[in-house]
Chain length 221, copies 2
């Protein structure tokens, strides 16, 4: 409140929406609250984004496009061919670091994005889920390719399951840090991206490298 300078209504709206979507959920954050926090008028959202759905889409893609581009850039910078033994760790780092860095508090307002991002895949609104999935699709495809080469003993099925678990651990870390802080009585610092990254990479690398399972046939369901 009482901003010194008005920079850009459109950007202010995105900042306010990101913050309120994160705090209250997409559905529960009203355009009234968003426009008020942005110092803009109620009608501004419809002018700039067409509808609330348009605003939601813009909020996500503003962050996800650069995030997934950076992931791919880091993946391509990995040194995976020269007999190094830490290929899995390198790839995990390339996937996780951009998100965990983004979650860290910054002067600009990326702060709230972690909670929103962690919830995005389980949002009740199907349009939101679909939109977010599509933003990730290309990056996920590339990372799965890289992991498949690094872990040739895994069946395609098992690799997919394990990547899914890794995504879950990551999502939980960025969206439910409060649980860890409370459970550890302050011993763990969930909002510290470096701490989270080190523990996550070693944990997930070990999980990905676990011996392949021989599944007992079970055609249940």
């Amino acid at each position: 409140m009482a901003e010194t300078e008005h920079i850009d209504t459109r950007e202010s709206l995105l900042d306010a929406a990101e913050s309120l979507f994160s705090e209250h959920g997409i559905q529960a954050a009203s355009l009234r609250a968003i426009t008020q926090q942005a110092g803009a008028n109620l009608a501004a959202v419809n002018y700039h984004f067409g509808s609330k759905d348009g605003l939601v889409r813009a909020v996500f893609s503003r962050r996800l496009k650069p995030l997934n581009e950076e992931r791919i850039r880091l993946l391509e910078a990995c040194d995976l061919e020269n007999g190094r033994e830490d290929g899995v760790e390198q790839v995990l780092n390339a996937f996780l670091a951009p998100l965990l860095r983004a979650v860290r508090a910054t002067p600009e307002g990326t702060r709230e994005f972690g909670r929103l991002m962690g919830r995005a895949f389980s949002e009740p609104n199907e349009d939101v889920r679909k939109m977010v999935s599509e933003e990730f699709a290309e990056a996920i495809r590339r990372f799965l390719d890289a992991l498949a080469r690094l872990l040739p003993s895994l069946s395609e099925q098992e690799l997919l399951w394990r990547f899914h678990f890794a995504a879950g651990a990551m999502a939980h870390t960025v969206s439910c840090g409060y649980l860890l802080e409370k459970l550890s009585a302050g011993l763990c610092h969930a909002s510290n991206g470096d701490e989270a990254l080190e523990y996550l990479v070693s944990f997930l690398a070990a999980g990905l490298r676990a011996p392949a399972q021989q599944r007992r046939s079970s055609q249940g369901e």
Copy 2:
């Protein structure tokens, strides 16, 4: 619609609420829709549960109390003292199996609970998060104790982080199965609790048993 027999309004309301909370989210599921699906009157919710919040609480505790009791029962049935090497797997199985079994489609309507449960810890409503955390607190404490004895080389901090990651993989599995089904083009069956359980246990056991990290001092933040 057109139910053959009216059994119990209270239970019908819980079933309808669980189903609609799962599908649309707690906030977006209106009491009007819930009472209509339950074949009850709008005022029935206030009569039986006092308010929408009361209904939410009842929906969660109806499932979580027996779920966590079963977890503790299974944990106490584990054989951890006789030099067996699969202690971690046994403990993980005791923690995961009750939830994954509950998520499976059943005749009665437990079907929808997985999605709701997976989202519960990141619900925007703080009262819901607090309520759900408390339902899990006792079970989590016991499982952490058991794991600490099985993995004495881990610092308390690292064990907490790893348990947190495990919870995330589990939550993602029960709430975002659609992602895996789509990503695998039908190769993986996320709704098959047995398949999920086998892959989860081996993945998480390897992650928990990974060598302890030596954290470089980093007092960032």
